[in-house]
């Protein structure tokens, strides 16, 4: 959308410049009608792009107001995208973080944004977008990536990519699991979590635990209707992390609850 606005502005300037140059040099330029038509198209593109962008901003702001979240807009510092290394981040060039929404889900900080990047150059240049939803974790956990099993995943495995095999054949057929720390991955992906991830609302979701965030991503720009369902699945994964896994990574949920209860009682 913003690219359309930029193209419109450049087209108008170019057209004006072309007319000025041809009139100065006495060269044959385009007719006045042609110039007027071009200028009109450029203005429509510019105004249309601006209008669409404003409408989108209003939609996201309204959604945020309804759900108690905050619409932040764009993040020139790239925020989370800089903190993470795996897909969809770190691909192509010219990364952008836009349509940033922040809030909470089940008392945990959460974020949603559109991550954009460009591949190729010149005529081959292509723009890509992914809708990223993140849920903050109470402590650092080793990286664990779960992606739907597909042609790409099978191809990756053929070239030596890791795929942790768990005790559920249905889960192994539906997902590819990549985890440098297999022990922790086995502890997190216990039978109850596997069962949760095989329910229809979770099937096909790509997610990754990295650092202190659990992120999921889907192709395309932000779709507000998908934020809550995706966070529901992700919160299920976080709830299912056994206490001993947290303890091994410097956090004890039971101790935190006890401390909260004590502070409530004392206040």
């Amino acid at each position: 959308m913003r690219r359309g606005v930029r193209i419109g502005a450049v087209a108008v300037l170019g057209l004006v410049g072309f007319v000025v140059v041809t009139s100065w040099t006495g060269m044959d330029g385009p007719g006045v009608g042609m110039v007027a038509f071009g200028a009109a198209v450029a203005v429509v593109v510019t105004i249309g792009g601006r209008w669409l962008r404003e409408k989108r901003r209003q939609q996201l702001t309204a959604w945020a107001a309804r759900t108690g979240w905050t619409y932040v807009g764009k993040d020139p510092g790239l925020g989370l995208a800089r903190l993470h290394t795996g897909r969809p981040f770190g691909q192509g060039s010219r990364p952008t973080v836009t349509e940033v929404l922040t809030g909470a889900y089940e008392q945990r900080p959460a974020v949603s944004f559109t991550y954009g990047w460009t591949t190729g150059s010149g005529d081959e240049s292509r723009e890509h977008e992914a809708h990223v939803v993140g849920l903050a974790l109470p402590a650092y956990l080793p990286t664990l990536e779960v992606t739907p099993e597909g042609v790409g995943a099978r191809l990756a495995k053929a070239f030596g990519a890791r795929d942790l095999q768990l005790e559920s054949a249905a889960f192994n057929a539906a997902y590819r699991v990549d985890a440098p720390d297999a022990r922790t991955a086995h502890a997190i992906l216990h039978p109850r979590t596997l069962e949760r991830l095989l329910r229809p609302d979770a099937l096909g979701l790509s997610w990754r635990i990295e650092g202190t965030w659990l992120l999921s991503w889907e192709a395309g720009a932000t779709d507000t209707a998908r934020i809550a369902p995706r966070l529901g699945v992700m919160a299920g994964v976080v709830r299912g992390v056994p206490r001993h896994v947290w303890q091994d990574h410097g956090y004890d949920p039971a101790a935190t609850i006890a401390a909260q209860t004590d502070s409530k009682e004392s206040s």
């Binding site: 022990r183 086995h186 502890a187 709830r239 056994p242 206490r243 001993h244 896994v245 303890q247």
Partner: protein, 189 residues
């Protein structure tokens, strides 16, 4: 280049490829065997942690139900057998099953004493035991996954040729009957 030379080069190339494959397979077996041993040692650590909790648990229950001597003796005997050195997975599993049964009876006794159940020390020990059992369950799943991978490799062709040549054998699964140890971890937030 004569036909004989070409044949010789092909034969040498095939032999080199087979040798490289055999080395890769052998190294794969060694890696898997070490992984199985390491994951078993991790279970052993968790089992010891669990065994170390039991004397405190017995003493706590004794404080409220001293006359239930038979149950205490049974738990003590089963714990001593389970914490003995050098048992393999199958033998250890049998001993753990016996200990689980004895602990089940100890908790059944505790059920009859509401004051004991309400005591902070008992609740803390129970929570710690449950957490340790979750750790054992996670360790067991990881160990069994490694065993499954090793056993599959030992049995499938052509990797089984290398397994037979160098004496790589199937590993034992660690399977327990106790539902508490088998269950998914309890999650508390």
């Amino acid at each position: 280049m004569t036909g004989g030379t070409i044949a010789l080069v092909v034969v040498i190339a095939v032999v080199v490829i087979i040798l490289l494959w055999a080395v890769a397979q052998y190294n794969g077996f060694v890696r898997l065997r070490n992984l199985v041993q390491e994951s078993w040692r991790q279970i052993d650590v968790e089992l010891h942690r669990r065994h170390d909790l039991i004397p405190n648990l017995v003493e706590t229950v004794k404080g409220y139900a001293a006359h239930e001597r038979g149950v205490f003796d049974e738990v003590t005997r089963a714990r001593a057998a389970a914490s003995g050195p050098g048992a393999g997975p199958a033998e250890q599993a049998a001993q753990e099953n016996a200990l689980n049964a004895a602990l089940g009876r100890l908790f059944a006794v505790a059920e009859n004493y509401p004051v004991l159940r309400a005591s902070e020390n008992f609740q803390q020990l129970q929570a710690e035991l449950s957490n340790t059992e979750d750790r054992i369950a996670a360790g067991r799943r990881f160990y069994n996954a490694n065993v499954r991978e090793l056993n599959t490799k030992v049995e499938t062709f052509p990797a089984n040729i290398i397994a037979n040549m160098f004496g790589f054998t199937r590993a034992e699964y660690f399977e327990v009957d106790d539902p508490q140890v088998r269950q998914s971890p309890s999650v508390s937030f």
